[in-house]
């Protein structure tokens, strides 16, 4: 097995809850609560979960937009040395931020409205002192062409472009430094259906062309299935299941994954009454005060009192098959339904 490009160990991001005149800390929102994760070079790892599960925070802490509270983010450089990004100070991060880039969700707020495409896409080159003047221009033009934008629009401002085009600009900006790992945070969820496919295909093409590794954060399970090699499912700041995409979708081993998969509406009316329907209650527990035992037991249809709700005996992410991990106390007893089995 190859060495992972990224090795995250017991990563925690806790946001203090402040109150009072001087801002006393009265509690913590455990946005990311002890995550272990590895990403292999060249793969696309999907990160899914409901809103508020901490997937975006995890992505942001790996790119060090947010400083993690504790834990390790081991990044393996091209020369094989591993650096713990979580421990670095802002200045020391610079060289690594060139190799780990981010594509944001919102194609509107992520582009500075006062800068032209040339300035936006060229900014990383300029800021890192890689290229200036005509060289910068050539590289920007080249990059724009690769993401499917005509370089002749280089001097236009973002407001002249549609959502899909702006997302291409974002991708160009992320890739111009020749990164190795790209963290894509819901890169297509703000786009129209007919444009979404273009961007997904583009990401795939660029991955091949530049041999990129992707961490793909999304709430859309069908999109994740189509682009990811492996998928990690998050719930209340923890990873509850991690497996190869096909394996995870076909035979999930965590009740939460089963529920998520079963909730995705399938674009085929003939499948309407096919398969098991698992429905979760609406109420996500308060992440600053998670339930005892398994965090999911309050909503889990398979939860057993006295097993799943015992304080201090929450499940841990265990290997239960080749490359398949799940954090469920009852994963051995349960037989859960996936998607593939229902396909006609």
């Amino acid at each position: 097995m190859t060495m992972p490009i990224l090795d995250v160990r017991d990563l925690k991001v806790h946001f203090p809850v402040k109150a009072g005149f001087i801002g006393r800390t009265v509690g913590h929102v455990r946005a990311v609560d002890g995550v272990d994760l590895t990403i292999q070079p060249g793969e696309t790892l999907g990160l899914v979960g409901e809103s508020g599960c901490g997937k975006t925070t995890l992505g942001r802490s790996i790119s060090r937009i947010i400083k993690p509270s504790t834990g390790m983010i081991g990044y393996r450089g091209t020369d094989g040395t591993v650096t713990d990004l979580a421990a670095l100070r802002e200045r020391e991060l610079r060289p690594f931020q060139r190799q780990i880039r981010v594509v944001f969700q919102d194609p509107f707020s992520s582009l500075n409205p006062r800068m032209t495409l040339r300035q936006i896409v060229g900014e990383p080159l300029r800021a890192n002192g890689i290229a200036t003047g005509s060289e910068l221009e050539d590289r920007v033009a080249d990059m724009l062409a690769r993401v499917g934008l005509s370089p002749k629009y280089m001097d236009r401002y973002p407001h002249a472009f549609s959502g899909g085009e702006r997302q291409r600009v974002n991708i160009a900006r992320a890739l111009i430094l020749g990164p190795r790992l790209v963290i894509a945070d819901e890169p297509v969820s703000a786009l129209d259906v007919s444009v979404r496919a273009q961007i997904l295909n583009l990401l795939r093409d660029l991955q091949e062309e530049f041999s990129l590794t992707f961490l793909f954060v999304s709430h859309d399970l069908s999109v994740v299935e189509s682009v990811c090699d492996r998928v990690a499912v998050m719930y209340l700041g923890k990873i509850v299941e991690l497996a190869e995409t096909a394996e995870l979708y076909a035979s999930p081993r965590h009740p939460y994954t089963e529920a998520l998969l079963s909730a995705v509406p399938r674009p085929d009316p003939r499948l309407r009454d096919v398969g098991r329907r698992v429905r979760l209650t609406d109420d996500l527990p308060d992440p600053s005060n998670p339930p005892a035992g398994c965090y999911f037991h309050t909503r889990c249809p398979y939860a057993v009192a006295g097993v799943c709700d015992v304080s201090g005996q929450g499940p841990v992410l265990d290997g239960i098959g080749p490359g398949h991990h799940a954090a469920c106390l009852r994963s051995d007893e349960l037989s859960l339904a996936g998607v593939a089995s229902e396909l006609a």
């Binding site: 801002g23 944001f104 409205p113 401002y157 002249a160």
Partner: protein, 379 residues
């Protein structure tokens, strides 16, 4: 997307494969978009023209005013305004005055005497002055052909000063004290508001408390206290400067709040995060990415706070706590109009107040227009 207007997410679509038809708008810089939007605001355009005129008056005050600000003729106490008339033979002229002396108080009362004609000319020789403080000259735009004849187009005050001339001279002080005060408030506001917004956390809390403090105390008594405490022996320039400082001390809070609010909201904008991830240093993130995004908002707030400064100066000077004669400002001129009895005999003494109203209105219009135009991407 909740918006019912079908602009939802695809604001303007630039087809990557061509579509230069509306290239003008698409390639436009933000400054240009703001200007386009501003131009649609008719009142703001009127205001802009007015403001330009007022500052031109301030710039060429010596030339525009018939006499210098210190020229007076104590013979013509409370002389009423004369109407400027035009005649095909004699050209411009005004009527002279006849005076009757009150037998009890010995105070003269003037009336315009239709039988006298005083010739008025353009570009006449008069008091000597230095234009822009550099070019010595003695021509005035308008004035009596004979400098010894009285010409009081807006009347005279108790000492026989020409109100029109003094108002024109006063423009300079009144309109600059606002600018200087705002400039100082702006600097204070940007530094503190910026710190508050960028560093957030404890720094923000402390600065916020200070701002709240300044906003919760009534300004005018404080100004009065501070300006009353100014040493009497200070000269006009020192006083002028001290008053601007006092105005700035009170006025910076609004600026600080605006700047802080913008910084706070921008700090979490993804394009700012992106800039940081691009490797831009902190100063570049602040000055190249954040500041330009709200300069137009800032300019709007600045424009809207100049009038407040002008009003404050006027009020202070009116009470005799602000600028003192011989400095001439609109507020100083209004000191003459303290009392109803005086007003009853010489209502024209309130005219400088009109200048204040017009200037403040115009600035408010411009500020309003700017505020609306500041965000050209918002419908």
């Amino acid at each position: 997307m909740t918006s019912v207007l079908p602009d939802a997410d695809a604001s303007v679509t630039g087809d990557p494969a061509g579509g230069d038809e509306t290239g003008g708008r698409r390639a436009a810089t933000q400054r240009r978009l703001v200007w386009w939007k501003f131009r649609q605001h008719k009142l703001a355009m009127v205001g802009l023209v007015l403001i330009a005129c007022i500052y031109l008056v301030a710039l060429f005050a010596e030339f525009l005013a018939p006499v210098s600000s210190s020229t007076f003729n104590s013979e013509y106490t409370y002389a009423p305004p004369q109407q400027l008339r035009i005649d095909s033979d004699a050209g411009l002229y005004v009527h002279g005055y006849t005076s009757t002396v009150d037998p009890e108080t010995f105070e003269p009362t003037f009336e315009v005497d239709k039988s006298q004609k005083i010739d008025v000319g353009l570009f006449v020789k008069g008091d000597e002055y230095e234009l822009f403080g550099l070019i010595p000259w003695d021509r005035h735009l308008i004035g009596p052909e004979d400098p010894d004849q009285p010409m009081y187009l807006l009347g005279a005050n108790r000492n026989g000063y020409d109100l029109l001339s003094r108002m024109i001279h006063g423009t300079r002080v009144s309109m600059t004290i606002g600018l200087v005060g705002v400039a100082m408030a702006l600097i204070l506001g940007i530094i503190l508001g910026g710190m508050s917004g960028y560093f957030a956390g404890k720094t923000d809390t402390v600065i916020q408390r200070v701002v709240e403090f300044f906003m919760s105390i009534p300004g005018i008594p404080l100004w009065m206290g501070l300006s009353a405490a100014l040493p009497h022996e200070w000269g006009p320039m020192q006083r002028y400067f001290a008053i601007t400082v006092i105005l700035a001390i009170i006025g910076w809070t609004d600026m600080a709040r605006v700047v802080r609010g913008r910084f706070l909201s921008l700090r979490n904008e993804e394009f700012v995060t992106s800039a940081r991830l691009d490797g831009s240093g902190r100063p570049r993130v602040i000055y190249r990415h954040m500041l330009p995004s709200f300069t137009s908002h800032l300019i709007a707030s600045v424009t809207l706070s100049i009038p407040a400064m002008i009003l404050a100066e006027t009020a202070l000077s009116f009470l005799g706590l602000g600028l003192q004669p011989p400095v001439v400002s609109w507020g100083v001129l209004l000191q003459d109009a303290q009392n109803v009895r005086v007003l009853a005999t010489a209502p024209w003494l309130m005219i400088p107040g009109l200048a204040v109203v017009i200037a403040v209105l115009a600035l408010n219009f411009v500020g309003d227009g700017l505020r609306d135009a500041a965000d050209p991407y918002k419908k």
